[in-house]
């Protein structure tokens, strides 16, 4: 009759308990590093470590945005130049030198050796 099952017990992997337990021991030895890695990955430090890339990416993006915003909003107006002049004067820089630097032009030899009487 083909309705009755075939007795596969001679092939049953759990039939020979000792042999099966040896197989299980070998399996556990092979699985130990992966299980350990998984246990580790549950800790808060590992979670933080795992998030390091997205964190640094977000920080870099924020830095770029901040730098861009700062560059666009800091005015390079005459008022700013005036502030620079005041600072130079406070430091004792001659006004002629300031005017040269603001005009971004090189002084002539005469201007260097014979500064105007105004100073």
């Amino acid at each position: 009759m083909s309705d009755t099952p075939i007795d596969f017990s001679p092939l049953d992997p759990l039939g020979d308990r000792r042999h099966f337990e040896q197989l299980m021991q070998g399996l556990h030895r092979a699985a130990a590093p992966e299980l350990e890695r998984r246990q580790l990955s549950q800790s808060i430090w590992w979670q933080l470590f795992a998030w390091r890339r997205p964190f640094f990416t977000a920080a870099a993006a924020a830095l770029v945005i901040l730098a861009g915003t700062a560059y666009l909003t800091i005015p390079t107006t005459p008022a700013n130049e005036e502030k620079t002049d005041n600072l130079a004067l406070a430091l004792g820089v001659p006004t002629e030198v300031i005017s040269w630097s603001v005009a971004d032009s090189l002084p002539s030899t005469a201007q260097v050796f014979f500064p105007s009487e105004e100073n």
Partner: protein, 186 residues
């Protein structure tokens, strides 16, 4: 094989294994080893190869357990991995010469005579199984060795329940013819 309570427990065991719980992994393996072995044996044909494939496939399954999307269907997912690894193993074996079978343990509580007889029966069963087409081997082993239902087998091997029954019927008929006179029918 699996009623709803067992499947629910499978989901819990898979979740615990994902967290690295060795006990949960052990329970999962013990629960599904027979099915994994049946699939591996159906492809490889020998007990020794099937055991090697099972070890390899179970480690692979552990490494990939995060990709098991329906943990309540863990058995089917595991058997898919086992089948793939078994085919890879077969491919490797075709390239290099097969090593001799090594069985170094005796069944606990049995006499040497029992063990020898059991081994001989096992070997004859292996030989007979090799004469079956792969699908029939898989169906008869999952059904008669691990007690899977036709619905479960059909879902796993991608066929209908009717075809699963047909495979089982044909497989048993061929095996009985091949093994007639041996002490293996219930």
């Amino acid at each position: 094989m699996a009623d709803s309570r067992e499947r629910a427990a499978d989901a819990d065991l898979v979740a615990a294994t994902r967290s690295g719980n060795a006990g949960a992994f052990d329970a999962l393996v013990r629960r599904h080893y027979r099915a994994a072995f049946a699939v591996a044996l159906a492809v490889c044909g020998t007990r020794a190869d099937a055991e090697d494939v099972c070890q390899d496939a179970l480690i692979k399954a552990l490494e990939r357990i995060d990709s098991c999307r329906t943990p309540e269907k863990f058995a089917g997912w595991l058997c898919e991995i086992v089948r793939n690894r078994a085919f890879n193993h077969l491919e490797k074996m075709r390239v290099r010469a097969a090593e001799p079978l090594q069985e170094d343990s005796a069944a606990a509580g049995t006499t040497p005579h029992d063990t020898l007889e059991r081994r001989e029966l096992g070997r004859q069963l292996e030989d007979a199984l090799k004469r079956l087409p792969p699908k029939q081997r898989e169906v008869v082993l999952l059904h008669d060795l691990d007690g899977w239902s036709h619905r479960e087998i059909a879902g796993m091997i991608g066929t209908s329940e009717v075809m699963s029954r047909q495979h089982l019927f044909n497989a048993r008929q061929v095996l009985r013819e091949l093994l007639s006179g041996l002490k293996i029918e219930e």
